[in-house]
């Protein structure tokens, strides 16, 4: 089981902006890392934009899952992991990260920031590669058991009616031309590892 990324996003009207992020893409090959990170950034924004305030979702694709919690204050915490990583641990971790974030950064700071320096998520990305490390945080988050996270088997299912993933990819500023071509080709040949 692996954690690939921790991200904090802010929702501005209908767009999501990544304020802080950390990645561990060491398990991807040298040539893949660039486009993997781009697609993760793209997915993160796309999913965060379509997660209503107060809601938790898990969105699967390939061998990855993006777990997101949209905090009512307008900030979202996201963890991208592989499918083996227990979702309950991911959501506990997101809760902890969001709580600490909101204490560390006053509202007026994160509402206006372009990016924020939040080194703690780098430490967490290392520490919580082993889900058992999250034992103590889960014990104090009993109320999480009562909430349910919606599970989506594909990223398509978070899109609004009429929205097409193809056009979102095409219009995205997070993806390079190469990645966009990659997506089109992989889709056409129905090959795996689209990393979306």
């Amino acid at each position: 089981m692996k954690l690939y990324s921790i991200l904090i996003l802010r929702k501005d009207a209908d767009k999501a902006k990544i304020l802080a992020s950390q990645f561990d893409l060491s398990s991807f090959g040298f040539f893949q890392r660039g486009s993997v990170q781009e697609f993760m950034n793209f997915s993160a924004a796309t999913i965060a934009e379509r997660t209503p305030a107060g809601q938790r979702q898990s969105v699967e694709s390939e061998n990855n899952v993006a777990h997101v919690y949209s905090h009512p204050q307008g900030i979202s915490g996201m963890i991208i992991s592989d499918k083996d990583y227990p979702s309950r641990v991911a959501f506990s971790l997101i809760n902890k990260i969001m709580d600490e974030f909101l204490v560390k950064f006053p509202t007026d700071v994160w509402k206006k920031a372009d990016t924020l320096d939040y080194p703690e998520i780098a430490d967490y990305l290392v520490k919580y590669q082993d889900p058992q490390q999250a034992d103590t945080i889960m014990k104090v988050q009993k109320e999480l058991d009562e909430t349910t996270a919606i599970l989506h088997k594909t990223i398509d299912s978070v899109l609004q009616r009429g929205e097409k993933l193809d056009s979102l990819v095409d219009r995205s500023e997070a993806l390079s031309n190469q990645s966009k071509m990659f997506y089109k080709t992989a889709k056409k040949t129905n090959s795996c590892c689209v990393v979306m």
Partner: protein, 340 residues
Amino acid sequence: MQLYQKLCKAITENEINTKKSDELGLLHIIPEAIELPLESQIYYPLIVVESKLGISKKDLSLLLKEAHNYYITVTKNNYHDLEQVTRVMILLKPDNYTAMNRRKELILSGHIDLKQELALIELIFTIPKHSKSSVAWYHRQWIYTHFNQLLHIDIANEFKLCTVTSAAYPRNYYSWTYRYWILKTYCINNIPLLEREYRDTRHWIETNISDYSGFQYLQQLMGLLKLDTEDIHMKWLDQLIIKYPGHESLWCHRRFCSHLMIHSPNYCHSQHEFISNILNDTFKDQSLSNTTDDIVLQKEFALRFGLWQTLLEKRNKINNEYATLYLTVAPIPDFLNIQE
């Protein structure tokens, strides 16, 4: 032939496979030539960046064809070209018996350096899918076996290679069996090393709980070590089963433990007690997953294990008072009296 020659040029001119940062990559798509650094553009559509070689999947099939077509024309005593073309063939596709065996001949006739061949295999394994190639792993084993007088084996490096490839390709059967071969051949009497491997493998499994091949290695270690801390091992397994409900690999390993520990005092009783607790949701709060599917699967695995355990106890002439617990999964109500 053009692409094949370009590949040979790329490998030779950039000394691929002589530097530690070497890596191969198979790419779904490659950038436009202009987007690449100038030094790489001469090899386009191959990509060379910082001593790493990228080949698009589309070009891979063409290269394989060109390499093979060249191979069949090379004369038997053109050792240089033979070495080069077989090297390219196994870099592109390690599951190639012909090329690998030709290279064994070249090694035996002194036309290939042993250390370079070992490094070549490590380069091949930088493509995750290729790190499960049984032909490549055996080639490595063959080199060490055949030249064990000449070569000094770096055990730590071999274990590291196994660890890296087990991470790169999950449930990497050949990586783990090679690891066991190293252990058996070079470390069998090194108790501290066996104990360290046991601890490290247990730690590995904690974040790779579905790695059946890793479990097999752990079980082989347990056989070699004659574990005297059985209850500590079972406590460890119990914790994993509690934390990660519904993982079949953990329950399979439990069966292995039963075979090993069935005659240990109190073992059987503690098994049924554990199952009973699972069925009663005693550990519900400790699990890291609470999805219904996992909980249901967990109970199913527990019942099946209980039934299997009961039959094992009967076979070993151990008295069993828990048989009734498993009637729900028994093939027939009278299962204990089936003559075997």
